[in-house]
Amino acid sequence: MRTAFVRALTEAAQLDRRIVLLTADLGYKIFDDFARRCPGRFLNVGVAEANMVGVAAGLALEGKKPFTYSIVPFATLRCYEQIRNDVAYHEADVTVVGVGGGYSYGHNGPTHHGLEDLGALRLIPHMAVLSPGDPRETEAAVRALVRWRGPAYLRLGRANEADVHGAPLELEIGRGLVLREGRDVAVIATGSLLAQAVEAADLLAREGLACRVISMPTVKPLDTALVERTAREVPALATLEEHSVLGGLGSAVAEVLAELGLPLRFRRLGAADAFAHASGDQAWHRRRNGLDATAVSAALRALARGTPAA
């Protein structure tokens, strides 16, 4: 996803000279091509995220379109107030980019895990919150963000995410994508667990259970129409994200569902509200949190059948 992001932004920046890319001293070598093709518009501002976001707001005030880049917790939580006041309050045309969503930096430990960003950023007025599901969605998200005017957050995975869509696509901010139809159960996924959602649906299909798979690359503004339609057509629904079960996509969807008042079985699949106290890679942390395809399919099966969760 990181590669897809850089490639798409480099392409866009050659056409749109307002684009400036700022990093807080992260992304060794990956921006070399951008820097070569867009001289003067790539800046390493040093290990100073608060200043990076303030500088981005100042650039936007003078007509630029800055993207700020760091690892998720540093890009978002470290400078949260700058994002809120300097960017969002001013409706500044700044996109905050966080690399390493969820447990992408697994062995680096909880300081580097990105599990609160979607919830935190979703709370801020005017922020668009994007969490693409694969490299294709990432490229499309960058193109959509270049067209977008105003504050935005783009959450990326890291490297080697599966190409779920298998072909280029276009994204509209605020619209979800139905990847697969099905009426027994539905899963709405955001971020790179999209591949696990598809794999879980494959497992269920072998048992004769038809699972609808929806990718929700925009967490805010949420595609409430798609959530509502799904809730009316499918009796059981789960959200899936590599983010705390508090505050992210699961909460956003639950807010819509609660107000609809439909007789629906619903479950939020995500990371436990806890810090990891052991080292592990992304796959290990996913398994620990029931976010691998087998565990997801088990949860969806139980939901479809109305039996207690495993």
Binding site: V45, G46, V53, G54, V55, E62, Q82
Partner: protein, 284 residues
């Protein structure tokens, strides 16, 4: 990027005119704090002379704005001092003075910290300390990228210099050689809970800015002639941002508010206002 025509030095008559403006701004400021029943009157009074020097002599920008692509731009990073900014903008003709009467009342655009839009002359909102200098630095960088003229002036408080983000911005702006960026510190030596020197080791403040690579000058922040001279002279050194450490008195101009922490909080009563206005008139 350097401006071509140097402005002649302020004559004694110019300084007298500025002093009259400053008295009017101080009177309006105390009145706003009284009508709006708000805190921070002393924080506003300490930076009145800096604002008057900027808006009536130094800034290349015309009311009512918006800031043009090559205009000078001002950012009030010490947002809690904005009564003085509102009063200065009104005095300069950015908006009618009657608007000041509504300060901090329900439905008024003039809140206790400056908003991002809705007030002519104000385009950068602040209120939380340690934000303004980064924004001004980013704006300065954009100007340089485009080869556009115009200086970026940013006014900070001394207490604000406790914030780490101020020094992130200071380090970065010097590294990028943003010489059309000018930071002014309203060094009134008092912050919300005590003497700034007792709260942190703030002194030597000018030395800190110098050590961070800024061309730094100390000035009496109530000497309008000296303020005009040093602000007009910025950038002081090629390839370096400029820091002006303005030594000020919190509550300046109203004897019973001067250097008294009480007035960081207390709204002036009708009696306080009358007394303050009498004093300011007597100074004329």
């Amino acid at each position: 990027m350097r401006r071509s025509s140097p402005v002649p030095a302020a004559t004694p008559a110019d300084v007298a005119d500025l002093a009259a403006r400053a008295r009017a701004v101080r009177a309006a400021t105390v009145r706003m704090a009284h009508l709006g029943r708000t805190a921070h009157v002393a924080s506003a009074l300490s930076c009145v002379d800096v604002l008057v020097a900027l808006y009536f002599r130094v800034l290349r920008a015309e009311p009512p704005g918006p800031t043009g692509p090559s205009d000078d731009r001002f950012v009030l990073s010490k947002g809690h001092g904005c009564m003085a900014w509102y009063a200065t903008l009104a005095e300069r003709g950015y908006f009618p003075k009657e608007l000041l009467d509504g300060y901090s009342t329900d439905g008024s655009p003039l809140a206790e910290h400056p908003p991002p839009r809705g007030v002519p002359g104000i385009e950068v909102a602040t209120g939380s300390l340690g934000h303004g200098l980064s924004i001004a630095a980013g704006a300065a960088l954009a100007r340089r990228m485009d080869g556009r003229a115009g200086r970026l002036f940013c006014l900070l408080s001394d207490g604000e210099c406790n914030e780490g983000s101020v020094w992130e911005a200071a380090m970065w702006a010097a590294g990028r050689r943003l010489d059309h960026l000018v930071a002014i510190v309203d060094y009134n030596k008092l912050q919300a809970m005590g003497r700034s020197e007792e709260v942190t080791a703030l002194a030597p403040l000018a030395e800190k800015w110098r050590a961070f690579g800024w061309a730094t000058r100390e000035v009496d922040g109530h000497d309008l002639g000296a303020l005009v001279e040093v602000l007009e002279a910025a950038p002081l050194t090629p390839d370096r941002p400029t820091a002006i450490v303005a030594h000020t008195v919190k509550g300046k101009g109203v004897s019973f508010m001067e250097d008294d922490l009480e007035w960081h909080y207390r709204p002036p009563s009708a009696e306080d206002l009358a007394r303050a206005l009498r004093e300011l008139e007597a100074d004329a």
